[in-house]
C-alpha cells in the first residue's frame, strides 16, 4: 500500500487531529451517521408518512389532499376491523402461549445430555432457516383436503371418516394457521429457553435434589425464576413477531374463508393494496405502531437487563 495516496494522507492527517475536543466528540458520530441517516430515511420517514396519511384525505391512488381530521379512523369501528382485531388477539395469545410452553418443554429435553443431542439442536432450527412464505406453502399441501398427509393420517387412525377441508372452513382454518405459527416460531423460542437454561448453574439443581426437591419443584422454584429475564425478552419478541406476522395467513387463506382468519396485518394489506383505502390502512398502522412502541420500550429495557448480566 506504500505511504498512501495524497488524498488518503490528507484524510488520515485530519483523522489524527485528536486535539480539538469538537472533533473528538464528532468523530464517532461521523461513523454512525450513514447508518443513522439510512434508518431515519427508510424506517423513520415511512412512519412519518403513515402518520400524515392517517390524518389526511387520501384518494385511491394514495395522493394526499389536506388534513381530514379523524375521518380515516372510522375504519376502527368497522366490523371487519373489529373481527380482525379479535382474531389477532386470539392468534397472538394462543400461538405465543402454545409456542412458549412447547419450546420450554423441548428445551428442557434438549438441555439434557444424551447421544445425538447436538444433531437435534441443529435440526430443530430448520423452520427458522426456511422462508416463512415457503413453509406456509408446504403446509397448504400438508393440509390438502384430499391428498395431504394430515387428512390421510387422521383417516388412517379413524379419527375422521370424510375429507376435511381444513383451510376451507373458519373453524378449522384458524387453528391450523396457529399451528403453523407455532411451528415457525418454535426454534427461536427454544433457543431463547436454552439460553436461559444455560445461565443456571448445575449446583443449584444438585443442591435442591439433595434436599429432596422433585423435578417439578425444581422447575417451578429454580428454573423458571432464574430464566425469567431471558424468557421475558424471548416472549416480548415473540408477541411482537406473532402480532405482525403476515405471510402465514396471507399465503394459506388470504384471511378467508370470508374474513374468518383475517388478522390485523392482512387487514392493513387488504385495505391499502386491494381496497385502495390508504387512509384507513394508515390509521390502523398508526394504532399498531403505538401498540408496538410500548413493547419496543419494554423489550429494549428487558434486553439491556440481560446483556448487562452477561
Amino acid at each position: 500500500m506504500g505511504k498512501g495516496a495524497p488524498t488518503s494522507s490528507l484524510v488520515s492527517r485530519w483523522w489524527r487531529r485528536r486535539d480539538t475536543p469538537m472533533l473528538s466528540t464528532l468523530r464517532p458520530w461521523l461513523f454512525i451517521a450513514p447508518c443513522a441517516l439510512f434508518l431515519l430515511l427508510f424506517v423513520g420517514y415511512p412512519i412519518v408518512l403513515v402518520f400524515v396519511t392517517a390524518f389526511s384525505r387520501v384518494d385511491v391512488l394514495g395522493r394526499l389532499h389536506g388534513f381530514d381530521g379523524l375521518a380515516n379512523f372510522s375504519v376502527l369501528i368497522d366490523d371487519r376491523f373489529l373481527s380482525a382485531l379479535k382474531n389477532s388477539l386470539v392468534w397472538t395469545t394462543t400461538a405465543v402461549l402454545g409456542g412458549t410452553v412447547l419450546a420450554f418443554l423441548y428445551s428442557l429435553v434438549l438441555n439434557t445430555r444424551f447421544p445425538g443431542r447436538s444433531v437435534f439442536r441443529t435440526l430443530m432450527l430448520v423452520p427458522w432457516a426456511m422462508a416463512l412464505p415457503i413453509g406456509s406453502l408446504v403446509f397448504v399441501w400438508i393440509f390438502d383436503d384430499q391428498f395431504g398427509f394430515v387428512t390421510a393420517f387422521l383417516h388412517g387412525l379413524g379419527i375422521i371418516s370424510a375429507n376435511v377441508s381444513w383451510l376451507g372452513a373458519g373453524a378449522t382454518a384458524f387453528p391450523v394457521l396457529i399451528l403453523v405459527a407455532i411451528w415457525a416460531s418454535l426454534p427461536f423460542v427454544t433457543v431463547v429457553c436454552l439460553a436461559g437454561l444455560q445461565t443456571i448453574p448445575d449446583e443449584l439443581h444438585e443442591a435442591a435434589s439433595i434436599d429432596g426437591a422433585s423435578f417439578a419443584q425444581r422447575v417451578r422454584f429454580i428454573t423458571l425464576p432464574l430464566m425469567r429475564p431471558v424468557l421475558a425478552v424471548g416472549i416480548i419478541l415473540n408477541i411482537v413477531g406473532m402480532f405482525n406476522s403476515f405471510p402465514i395467513v396471507w399465503i394459506m387463506t388470504q384471511g378467508g374463508p370470508g374474513y374468518a382468519t383475517e388478522i390485523i396485518p392482512t387487514f392493513i394489506f387488504r385495505e391499502a393494496f386491494i381496497n385502495q383505502d390508504f387512509g384507513g390502512a394508515a390509521a390502523v398502522s398508526l394504532i399498531v405502531f403505538l401498540f408496538l412502541l410500548t413493547f419496543s420500550i419494554l423489550y429494549a429495557r428487558e434486553s439491556s437487563v440481560v446483556s448487562d448480566r452477561a
Binding site: 427508510f42 444424551f114 427458522w128 406453502l137
Partner: protein
C-alpha cells in the same frame, strides 16, 4: 438438568427424536414432493418416500418456468442487501464498540427498539416513499427496505463481535504508525472478518426470506423474488405440487446453508451472549 441415568436417557432421546422429526417433517414433505411425478403426488394414501423418484422436476422448474428468473432476482436482491448492510453496519458498529461518546446509549437503545418494528406497520409509508421516487418495480426499492430492516440487528451483532477483539492490537498498530483509515483497512477489517461475514450473510438471509415488501414493492412478474414467485406459480398451476415443491426446495437451499453458517453467532447476538 433432568437426571440422565439409564432409562431416563433413552426416554429423553426418544422424546426429542419424535419432536424433532415433527419439526423437520414439513421440510421433508417439501423435498419428497419435489421428487414425485405429477401422478404420484395424488397417490392415496400419500407416499412417504417418492416412488419413482423424479429428478426432472428440477430442470423443468428452473428452465421452463418463471421460478428460474425468480431465483436470480432473489440472488441479486439478497447480495445487494448483504453489501449495503455491511457497508452501513461496519462503521457504525466499529464506532459503538470502540468509542464512548454522548448519544451512544441512545443509539444502541434505538437499534434495539427498532428490532420490534415489523414491515407491516410502515408498509403504507414505505410504499408511498418508493412510489414517489419511482422505486416501485425496481431492485433498489426492495434492497433499501430490506437493508433498513436487517441493519439494526446487523449493527448489534457486529459491535458485539468487534468488542471481543482486543483493543491492544489496534493500539500496537497505532504505535507502529498506522492510523485512521489505514488502521481500519489493514488491522480492524481483517480481524473483524468473521463478524463482517456474519452480518453480510444475515442481510442475505433476511432479504431472501422477506415477503411483504417483495409483494408490495415489486409488481412485474419478471422482477419478483422467489418467495413471491412461488405464490404466483401456485396461482397459475394449482395442481402441479411436484413442480411447486421442487421450486420451493431450490429456493430453500441458499438461505438454509447461509443460516446454518451464521446460526451460532446469530443466536449469541440475540440472547445477549447467554448461549455460548
Amino acid at each position: 438438568m433432568l437426571e440422565n441415568r439409564g432409562n431416563h436417557t433413552f426416554v429423553i432421546a426418544a422424546v426429542s427424536l419424535c419432536a424433532t422429526l415433527l419439526i423437520v417433517f414439513p421440510a421433508y414433505v417439501m423435498l419428497s414432493t419435489g421428487l414425485k411425478s405429477s401422478e404420484t403426488i395424488f397417490a392415496s394414501p400419500p407416499q412417504l418416500v417418492p416412488n419413482p423418484v423424479v429428478v426432472g422436476n428440477y430442470p423443468d422448474v428452473l428452465f421452463r418456468s418463471q421460478i428460474g428468473s425468480n431465483l436470480i432476482n432473489s440472488a441479486i436482491l439478497s447480495l445487494g442487501t448483504a453489501i449495503l448492510v455491511l457497508l452501513l453496519a461496519f462503521p457504525a458498529a466499529y464506532s459503538v464498540a470502540r468509542h464512548r461518546f454522548r448519544g451512544r446509549r441512545l443509539f444502541m437503545f434505538s437499534l434495539l427498539a427498532l428490532q420490534v418494528f415489523a414491515p407491516i406497520t410502515l408498509i403504507v409509508g414505505a410504499f408511498k416513499l418508493m412510489a414517489t421516487y419511482g422505486l416501485v418495480d425496481s431492485y433498489w426499492g426492495l434492497i433499501l427496505m430490506d437493508s433498513a430492516f436487517a441493519l439494526p440487528f446487523g449493527v448489534w451483532l457486529l459491535q458485539g463481535y468487534i468488542s471481543t477483539i482486543p483493543r491492544e492490537i489496534e493500539e500496537a498498530a497505532r504505535v507502529d504508525g498506522a492510523s485512521g483509515l489505514r488502521l481500519l483497512a489493514s488491522v480492524v477489517v481483517p480481524l473483524a472478518l468473521p463478524g463482517l461475514a456474519t452480518v453480510a450473510m444475515y442481510g442475505f438471509v433476511t432479504a431472501w426470506n422477506e415477503f411483504l415488501f417483495a409483494l408490495t414493492l415489486i409488481q412485474r412478474d419478471e422482477l419478483k423474488p422467489v418467495t413471491v414467485g412461488l405464490m404466483s406459480f401456485r396461482g397459475l398451476y394449482s395442481t402441479r405440487w411436484d413442480l411447486l415443491m421442487a421450486g420451493a426446495t431450490l429456493a430453500t437451499i441458499p438461505p438454509l446453508i447461509v443460516f446454518f453458517v451464521i446460526s451460532r453467532s446469530m443466536i449469541r447476538g440475540l440472547t445477549g451472549g447467554a448461549v455460548r
